[in-house]
Structure formats: C-alpha cells, structure tokens
C-alpha cells in the first residue's frame, strides 16, 4: 500500500482553505485531480503550485487530489507540505513560499504592547487582514486554539503566514506549545522573522532558558540576525510564585503576561467579572515584571460582544499597573487603545515633567525639578512613556513641543 497523507478542510462551510490528499507512489509521475471554486481564474496557478511543491519536497510520483475553496497560495502550499509529510514523515525538505518584502519588519524591546490579537494558527482566513486593524501585536497561536492532531498543519500555516502575510506595523508574535513540545515549534518560526515568542504555562526559569537556548541554536544555524524576544505566560500558582525568576531568566524577556483561565482552574476556583480570585496573581505579575524591568501585560478579555465590559477591564488593568491587554477580535483593539490612552490631566502633567527634564539636561543639571519639587528619574521615565503613548494614540500632536509646551 502506498502511503497517503491528507491535510486541510473541505465542505460547504469551508472558505479560503483547501483539502489536499497525497498518495506517494513508486512510479507514474504526478496525477492531479483538482476541484476548485476558482478553477477558471487560478486553475493553472494551483496546478503549478502543486508541481513546484512536490518537486521541492522531493516527491516525484504521486496521486494528488485538491478540493479548493479559494485558498490563497501560501495556504495551498502549507496544506500540500503537511499532506506530503503526513504520508512520508521522513521528508525533511520544506516548501517555502517566497518571503514578501513587507514581512521584513523589526521590533524593539520597549515598543508599545497595549493590544495583542490572538489568531488561531490553523485558520488562515483570520490572518489575512489582521494587520489592517493595527493591533500592537498579532499572535499566531500554535497552542490552545489548535487541535492536538492539527499541530503539524498549524506550524506550516504559521510559518508560511510569517513569510507572506502583511501584518503591517504589528509586532509578529507566535505562541508556541507548552515546553518541552513547544521547543519543536521553534524550528518552524525562528528563521522567519518572528519578533516575540510567547511561552505558555510557564512555571520555571529553566523553561525560559530552554527556549532561549534553542532559539540561539536556530539563529546561529540559519543566520538569523534580529533578536527573538520572549513573553512568558504565567498560568498557574507555581508560575506566580516563580514569576520574578521567570521574568529575569533571559535578557530576551521583554514582557510577562498572565493567563487567567488556566490559573483559576489551577486554584480550583471560578473566573468572575470582579476578579477578586485573581487580584493577587495579577499584582504578582505586575510587580515581578516591573522588578525585572519588563512590561506587565494583562490577560485576554474574551467576551467580544461586551465593549463596555472590555473598557472597564482595560481601565482596571491600567490601574493595577499593566501596560497591555490580550484580545481575540479586531473590534476590541480600538477599545483597548482608548483605555490605555492617558487622560488629558495625565498628559499635561507628563508634558511638564518631560520639558523640565529636557531643560535640565540642556543646562547640564543633574537634578530635575518642577516648581519646588524634585523629580526622580523613574518619574521622568514614566512621563516620557506617557507622552509617547499619548502621541501614539493621537491624543497629543507629535509636534507638541512647538505648540508652546515649554511654558507650561
């Protein structure tokens, strides 16, 4: 019997995806049976992709069946690769779509991470326009949103998306699987300009170190120049207890976040709207992150219909000291950004501090003072951040200094 591998989805409900079956044969070349709703427009293109893919993966003889519901080329390529590798697990070659120029974006340690939008790793149709909604980060998720038997399929989709999809100015994040199995995910993403790796259910600094080391190996082997930052997710009582060590485990950690669904389950309690059951954990994460000099980021708000609840939750997170919030629907992004935008009073105060600091620096003074008050460096840093946030959110003109800010 010839080995057969199948990948993808078909059926009336499926859109922008395809189903591919590959029977690897001993001889006879490639036989392709194609059914596609875009056959008259892209039939030739689909055939060419399948042929190139089989060649790249070293398959010379195969019976291929494609049931296509308008899958974009990068999806088709991923499904084909998964089907081939399910038939022939020994195939190590990759079928990589050409990397698009717009995917070569960079990030920085301390960029804003107010909103991060989770995108299920095996659902390509949600990825295509995610960047247009301008979340600070997109998270291509390989973990909880992907069924255990589809992990391989999601890896191929996520890798191809990293090479092809325009995520605009969003930071490119991937949530890998729990360590140790998550370490294998890294091979699929590190060479393809992932900015931040989220480590789920993180309970020790060893796990962070293991991820860091594996990333380092791949970076060296594949000549990856840009850094890959880490964001551990605290999702258990043990994780909370070890939060500071986790945040300090690597200099590549840029943020620490919390996942409350698993945390409350771990405590044996229920998640409530008031959130008293998680108050301690959230404060621990904020304090651990601040102590380690990384960003504290709050959990996901998962009721996509409740925009008022979301705003209240963002304001609460901000009050607790968090810098960001997770979301699962693009319509939540603006609400989150609005919530994290400083108030006019905060902006005015921050402007005065920043101007005082800049004046002091110009005059060569080591002590910053505002009126009769001395201003400590952390306060200056905070004020600078507030001004940057206000500018990013459009609440303050980037040219505010020219607007007479110095006489305030």
């Amino acid at each position: 019997m010839n080995p057969v591998g199948q990948a993808g989805r078909r059926g009336d409900q499926v859109r922008s995806d395809c189903w591919i079956s590959v029977e690897v044969r001993e001889s006879g070349g490639v036989a392709l049976a194609l059914r596609s709703k875009v056959a008259s427009m892209y039939g030739d293109s689909i055939r060419a992709t399948v042929e190139r893919g089989l060649a790249a993966l070293g398959v010379k003889h195969a019976a291929v069946e494609v049931d296509d519901a308008g899958a974009l080329p990068f999806v088709l390529a991923a499904r084909l690769e998964t089907a081939v590798k399910r038939a022939r697990p020994d195939v190590k070659a990759e079928f990589l779509p050409e990397a698009k120029p717009w995917t070569a974006t960079a990030t920085t340690r301390d960029r804003f991470r107010r909103s991060r939008l989770y995108l299920p790793g095996n659902e390509p149709k949600f990825m295509l326009n995610a960047g247009l909604h301008h979340p600070d980060g997109v998270i291509l998720d390989l973990e909880d949103s992907v069924a255990p038997h589809e992990k391989d399929a999601a890896r191929a989709i996520v890798r191809n998306a990293l090479r092809v999809v325009d995520f605009c100015d969003s930071e490119r994040m991937v949530r890998i699987n729990q360590i140790p199995s998550g370490l294998e995910d890294l091979d699929w993403i590190v060479p393809h300009n992932v900015h931040v790796v989220l480590i789920p259910k993180c309970e020790s600094d060893d796990q962070v170190e293991a991820v860091d080391e594996r990333i380092e190996e791949i970076r060296k082997a594949r000549g990856v120049k840009s850094p890959v930052y880490l964001m551990p997710i605290i999702e258990s009582a043990l994780g909370c207890v070890k939060a500071y060590k986790i945040a300090k485990a690597s200099e590549n950690v840029v943020a620490l976040t919390i996942g409350l669904e698993d945390y409350t389950a771990d405590l044996g309690t229920q998640r409530t709207n008031e959130g008293r059951e998680s108050f301690w954990a959230r404060s621990v994460v904020v304090n651990a992150a601040r102590a380690a000099g990384v960003q504290p980021i709050d959990t996901v708000f998962s009721d996509v219909a409740d925009m008022d609840g979301l705003l209240a939750s963002v304001l609460e997170a901000k009050a607790l000291g968090f810098d960001g919030k997770g979301c699962i629907h693009p319509r939540q992004i603006d609400v989150i950004h609005r919530g994290f935008t400083p108030s006019q009073a905060e902006i005015e105060k921050a402007k005065r501090i920043v101007v005082a600091f800049e004046d002091a620096a110009k005059k060569g003074l080591s002590v910053v003072s505002l009126g009769s008050k001395m201003i400590d460096p952390p306060v200056v840093k905070r004020a600078q951040r507030t001004v940057e946030l206000a500018v990013a959110a459009g609440a303050l003109a980037a040219s505010w200094r020219e607007g007479g800010g110095s006489n305030a």
Binding site: S16, V38, S40, M41, Y42, S45, A69, L72, L128, N129
Partner: protein
C-alpha cells in the same frame, strides 16, 4: 459585422460587443451615459369600459388557473410577476404551474426580480412553457442561463429600466399577475397588512398601468375598500385567491443582520467616515444604503456620526429596515422614501407613519420621465461583484463569468451625487478589483469612490472629492495601487473565464440601450 450564433453584434460606446437584435426585436447599442434620445409616444393599454366589468365590483374568480384562462392566456404571451415577496414568493411558481396545466408554450416571464425560490421555472424552460426570462436571473436561474439552457436571450434591466421598457412599449405585458398581501374584490391592493405583509407594491405599478390584463392574487381578501390602495382596482381585470401567497419568514430578507466580520465592519466604518469627512454629511442631506451587512453597518455608523455632529437628513432612501425606521422615529431624518421594506419594522412604519413614503420605480428611477429623484440623493452606497481600474462595475456576473444576480435599482442609483462601492478587495481568492470587468453594468464615469479594507480609491474624475478629503486621515490610494496589492495576495491577476460564442443575456442601460452582453460559458 461580427456575428454570434447567427445574431449580428456591434461594438457600443463602451467598447462592448452587443447584439443588434434581442429575441427578434431590434436593439440599440449603448451610446454613452446620457446620449440616447427616445422618440415617439408612450405605450398605452386598450380603452376599457365599465360595461364589461361587474357593477358590484366583484372581480373574484376561483383560482389562478381560472384567472389565467379568463385573461386569455395564449402561446408566446408575456406574463409578469413581482418580487415584493422576495425569496418567500409562491405566486410566480403557481402561475407557471397553472400555465403548464393549461398547456400554453413559449411564454416570456417578465419578473421585476427572481430569487432562488423560483428554481421550478427551470423545469418550465426545459419543457417549453417558458421561452426566456426578461428580468433578473438569480442563483440557479443564472447558472441555467449561463450554461445556455434558456431558449431565448435573457434581458437584464434595472428597476428603473423595467419601468422605462414598459412605458416606452419596448416590453408589452400581456398578463400581469400581482401578488397582494391585502386586496378587495375590486382589485385594490396593498402590501402593508396580512400574513404575507411586505410593505409596498411599487414594482407592480407599471404593470398595473400598462398591461393588457391585470390579475391580483391574494391570501387576504377583505371587503371593499382596501386602504391604502397602493394598486388601484380600476387597473385590475381579475382577482383571485391562494391559500398562501408567500412564506413570511422568507419575505423578510434576512439581510437585516449586522455583519460580524471585522473586515466588513471596517469597510462600513471607513465608508461612513468618508461621507462625513468629505462634507457630504451635512444638515439636510440625503443618502441611500442598500440591503446587506456592510450597507446596514454603514447606516449604523453614519447614524452615530450624525448624532455626534448634530446633523439631520432631509430624506433617506430605502430599502427600509429597523435602523432607518429608528432614524425616522428619532428625528434624524424627515422622510423615508421607500422602494421596498426589508423587515417588519419597515412594514409597520410604512403602514403607520405618513413620513415613511411608498415610492415606485416611476418616481425614483425611471430615466424616461421628467426627472427622477435618484439623482437628488447626495450619496448612495452600493455593492458590486467586480470593479475595474477605470471604475466600471459589474453586478450581474461573477469573475468566473457566471450570471448570478439581477441589477435591481443599482444602475439607477449611480446618478446620485456621490456613488460609493464599499467592497472587499478580494473574496476568498477572487480579486474584486480587476483590469476589466467581466460584464459592464455601470460606466466608471458614474462611480466615484471604491472603499476596500486596504484603502479608499477616488475616481480621478472627482477632483472635488479628492480635494475635500485631502488632509484627512482617510487612507486614500490610487485604484491601480489597490489592485496591485490584491493581485499580489491572490497570486497574480486572475485568468479570464472562457466563454462560448452565444449571447445568453443582454444587459440594458437605464435608457433601454444595450450596455453589454453575457456569453454562454465554455464547457
């Protein structure tokens, strides 16, 4: 002279090859948006006399078959129906089932629109009862037509174009069958009450005025007088009943669901922002948004912006739904000028609120009249299956060449002050912005703005709009730029569909000239 399956073709002013005769009648190629001048006088039905009608006003006969026989149905006649009952309509199918029983052949079906529920007409076309359709060929009927199943050539007209064709005598209706949610024995009828209430019966106006014989079919016969008499019994020859004229759950179109798609919401919001920032949204303005999730969400975003800015509209053009009714009831618009009602709130408002006005294609759309109010609407938001880099747009075929939709009021609405098409850049892997539309339905010179999730393209002919939004945050981009980006995502420009020679349908412009033709799909 080029020919296709024996029919002479000519290139029209838009560069499209169109037939010079349609089902044996001479056809005039499109000459330009407003270049054609009609001549002659309007058509008119024969003079009737009360002497031939019962003095007690009772025109009721037993059933649809009896009514058709009484109307003198014969081979080759043109029989019209209307789409007020949308996808819940039982009447058109009952009419052709009765015609089949009577044994007549080669009828022309002249609906104001067809829906998927009219699939049984395909059987009547196969067995010779129906020769061809002049009207929209939606869903299964479109597929059947595209594959060459119809004997004659289909003719697609806008709602205004349908009125024009009847008024000008281009289409002579032998028998009009008007489905009426409420009627009296004299033939007065309306759509505002009864189990199949649908709001109004405007699409049947021309038929009632110009057809030789007019039949009213109702499932809610009440004693004279039926008020309001949207259809005047004085035009009606025969009244009959059916147990039910339509499925109320499908009459209400189901398009009043707000879209949950983040991309469509984004497009709707950008469209509303454009209308606001271009200065179109100002006190006393008017707008029209069609059915469908994006248009609906546009209206909701615009309403919020109007409230914020303290702006009121003079009138809103429906398709009405609960959101427009809310606007009316909150005083955000003085009037709804309604063409059809899409939900029960619309029906209620039409019935009870004198500022919710019943209109017909005569007042709103007919191009061969002394003006129509479509050109007085400040901004209209419409859909399209494709738009090309010269802003030409298609609403009847898909990029694979298959006929799938009717024109509706779409062509008529293009005459508004600002025509906006909010459309996704691509659907699945199908680019919506193309080099050249598969079928030309609306000339680019009338299409002003295309809003996609990736940016807004303004027709270079509208320098005034470009100037109006300069300096705003709106992502204005050249349409070629959007097309390049979308092609890149989809893996290159799509191949063109392969067509056979035969013209299976002609697409009319609002003035009765032929703007394009639809070819049979190659096997």
């Amino acid at each position: 002279m080029p020919k296709a399956a024996g029919i002479e073709l000519a290139k029209n002013a838009a560069g499209r090859l169109v037939p010079l005769s349609i089902n044996g009648r001479e056809a005039v190629p499109y000459k330009g948006v407003a270049a054609h001048r009609p001549t002659g006088r309007k058509a008119a039905p024969a003079v009737a006399t009360c002497a031939d009608y019962p003095a007690d006003g009772n025109k009721v006969v037993a059933d649809v078959k009896t009514a058709l026989l009484a109307a003198g149905i014969r081979d080759g006649m043109t029989v019209s129906t209307h789409h007020h009952l949308r996808n819940g309509d039982y009447v058109a199918n009952a009419v052709f089932a009765a015609a089949a029983e009577i044994g007549v052949k080669d009828l022309v079906w002249f609906p104001s629109a067809s829906f998927a529920c009219h699939k049984p007409i395909i059987e009547h076309m196969k067995n010779g009862v129906v020769h061809h359709i002049e009207g929209s060929m939606n869903g299964p009927l479109g597929e059947f037509t595209s594959r060459g199943g119809m004997k004659g050539m289909g003719v697609l007209r806008s709602h205004g174009g349908r009125y024009q064709a009847v008024q000008d005598g281009e289409v002579h209706i032998d028998i009009a069958v008007i489905a009426a949610p409420e009627a009296d024995p004299f033939g007065n009828a309306n759509g505002v009450r009864g189990p199949a209430a649908c709001g109004l019966l405007g699409f049947a106006l021309a038929d009632s005025q110009y057809a030789d014989k007019v039949i009213v079919v109702t499932d809610n016969l009440i004693p004279f007088p039926c008020i309001p008499w949207q259809i005047h019994g004085n035009h009606v020859d025969i009244v009959t009943t059916m147990p039910s004229i339509g499925d109320p759950t499908k009459i209400i179109s189901g398009t009043t669901e707000i879209t949950k798609s983040p991309d469509r919401l984004r497009i709707a919001e950008m469209t509303a922002q454009f209308v606001r920032d271009a200065g179109i949204m100002r006190d006393g303005f008017s707008f029209q948004a069609g059915a469908g999730g994006t248009a609906l969400s546009f209206a909701i975003y615009l309403t919020e912006m109007m409230k914020e800015a303290g702006v009121k509209a003079r009138f809103v053009r429906g398709g009405s739904n609960k959101y427009l009714v809310e606007m009316l009831e909150q005083g955000l618009t003085d009037y709804i000028l309604d063409g059809q009602t899409f939900d029960l709130d619309g029906v209620r408002s039409m019935r009870d609120n004198p500022r919710h006005v019943n209109t017909s294609p005569f007042t709103s759309y007919n191009y061969h009249g002394k003006g129509n109010f479509a050109s007085m609407v400040d901004v209209v938001v419409l859909g399209a299956t494709e738009v090309d880099v010269r802003f030409n747009a298609n609403v009847v075929t898909h990029s694979d060449g298959k006929l799938l939709h009717g024109i509706g009021g779409w062509q008529n609405c293009l005459f508004s002050g600002c025509t906006i098409l909010p459309i996704p850049g691509f659907r699945d892997r199908i680019p919506v912005i193309v080099d050249e539309v598969t079928t030309l339905c609306g000339p680019g010179e009338l299409i002003d703005v295309v809003v996609t999730e990736r940016g807004i393209a303004i027709n270079p002919l509208r320098q005034d709009l470009l100037k109006a939004v300069a300096g705003t945050k709106l992502p204005i981009r050249p349409i070629e730029d959007l097309k390049r980006e979308i092609d890149d995502i989809c893996g290159g420009a799509p191949a063109k569909p392969k067509f056979g020679e035969r013209v299976v349908a002609a697409v009319k412009w609002v003035d009765g000239t032929v703007i394009d033709s639809v070819r049979q799909l190659a096997e």
